[in-house]
Symmetry: C2
Subunit: 335 residues, 2 copies
């Protein structure tokens, strides 16, 4: 393993992105996200992700210097056209207006369109909770997952995220894929030859299937939580697809043309201002939310974000460790 | 079994509610909901529900003639104080303003406060989709469900619902509890002595438990979908509890004082206007949503609402059938 300070990890990421040809705005925005992923122990959204980001740019499926275009289709709506760039810059471009609209109207929504995405939604939830707002976000990805009762890939791994601001504490944040597991987990089972646990996938006939190769090549992954998870995944396709004038996961897969690039689609973010809902009673009611968190933890249960915050504290103190092979691959991309 | 036309079912429901002492506005609103439940094959929200509704009123836990009070805390927010009445009248009172605000702002939210609730959210989703709006709703209930990793009741069965309007077709609507199953299902297993399937409940130590009595009396129910379902259920507690200045499921259980009344709490509804998101391109993008539905059904999978619409068509043609014993109980309540 190779140990890096967070600053070293950022410098390495920035130099890779710069060498790949990204504009300096993207260099900083993308580097911040992948370092946050590595720092928080989300290795699938960490430095490893730089390999896919560079591959996506080289395959012509991302615009290296896109300048996001912010517009206001309605008093409580923000639209950001990412113009083919990665989502991070589009989110940053729209964030101030989204926050302003949430504060003035009580609730507001932001559609990010035409972006390349790698679904690190928790980073965005933290940006909104830092402003004192409650937030939700979701997006389609690329079609890997069958609807409950189906047999063919249609839905993406479709993440959904939520953030709740806490005075004097790290926010309550969750961010999970609506697929039963990440696609990478099934790839690992294919390589090791291990059977899949029940509920992960189906074969081409829609029957439960424990053969990873069959699920990946002929059948489909499944959502978490049976027909309920499937319904949620369909909702995400709709509200972060057609509702915002952007692609479904199936359409995004067609757009990819077999390049295995990071997916191109849209994202919906909703922000709510507790101060506008509650007025002068806000403090009193937000204190009741704290009681809910205490009662969860008092049972020995974890808050969803707790594992990430523990990893973060450790990384801030000790830096991060990545596999030597990944470090060599990254150094080679630095040019 | 006793067969009733929908009109007879409505008249029977109305006479029971009138005899119990509800104002005529509540008589009509509650009767419409329970008949819709029976008609759609959702027997748990059907005529049977009248027994609990009358019991709740008699126990002093509902106000028979409450007049909902509508206010506007912010340009995109509606608040309806149900003043201790059932949620149906509060929803109807706020609906026109919610729709107006969604249309003028693109997105709007409605908080219903201080209501007695029986969680037939799909009825509300249909009312909003009929107006061409996309809608979501959720509410806490009473504490029966442990958070993932916990052992004690904290969350309610916390339903979440979604509606998507379709031109020339019945809307895409789902409405499900975030508990693994309804509490009634576990009661049935207690009565029959059958072991619970895995994932339904835990014992007092938070260990998986197949003993229905232990789950109901000492342990807790579980959410669907493991830690993901648990995270969603926590979100519902927060956004339809403290965010709107209303009770969590645990607080609602305390309020009940052991009366086993229908739960008293709040509800959050969000409405989004596709026309404001999409402008002149709305038709084109909504057509892509239709393609998604076709692709789901083309795989032999069902749309979430399909079973309900089939039951509805049958009930409209043939009426509904209820158990003779329930019919006798209902006739006795008619006074």
């Amino acid at each position: 393993m190779t140990r890096l300070t967070l600053s070293e990890a950022h410098q390495l990421s920035a130099s890779i992105l710069r060498h790949a040809g990204f504009s300096e705005a993207f260099v900083q925005a993308i580097a911040a996200t992948v370092v946050a992923g590595e720092r928080d122990g989300c290795t699938s959204h960490g430095l490893w992700r730089l390999l896919g980001i560079v591959r996506t740019l080289k395959s012509g499926k991302a615009v290296a210097d896109a300048e996001p275009l912010v517009s206001e289709p309605a008093p409580a709506l923000v639209r950001v056209d990412a113009r083919g760039g990665f989502s991070q810059l589009a989110f940053a471009a729209g964030l101030p207006l989204l926050a302003e609209k949430a504060r003035s109207n009580g609730i507001a929504a932001m559609a990010i369109n035409h972006c390349v995405h790698f679904s690190a939604l928790w980073v965005e939830m933290e940006a909104l909770t830092e402003l004192g707002l409650v937030a939700m976000a979701c997006n389609p990805t690329q079609a890997y997952v069958a609807p409950a009762g189906g047999s063919r890939p249609l839905f993406g791994t479709n993440p959904i995220a939520f953030g709740w601001p806490r005075a004097g504490a790290q926010p309550f944040v969750f961010d999970f894929a609506t697929s039963a597991v990440a696609r990478g987990e099934i790839e690992l089972h294919r390589r090791s030859g291990q059977p899949l646990p029940p509920g992960w996938g189906v074969d081409r006939h829609g029957q439960p299937c424990s053969d990873a190769a069959e699920v990946l090549d002929q059948g489909a992954m499944l959502t978490f939580g049976g027909h309920k998870g499937s319904a949620l995944s369909a909702m995400i396709e709709l509200i972060a697809g057609p509702l915002i004038g952007d692609l479904t996961s199936l359409e995004s897969a067609v757009f990819d043309e077999g390049h295995n690039a990071l997916p191109y689609h849209g994202e919906l973010i909703i922000a709510l201002d507790p101060q506008r809902f509650l007025g002068e009673q806000a403090d009193q009611h937000l204190a009741r939310a704290e009681l809910l968190f205490e009662t969860i933890q008092g049972q020995g249960a974890r808050l969803p974000s707790q594992r990430r915050y523990t990893a973060r504290a450790n990384s801030l103190a000790n830096g991060v460790e990545i596999a030597d092979s990944l470090y060599q691959d990254l150094m080679a991309l630095r040019g």
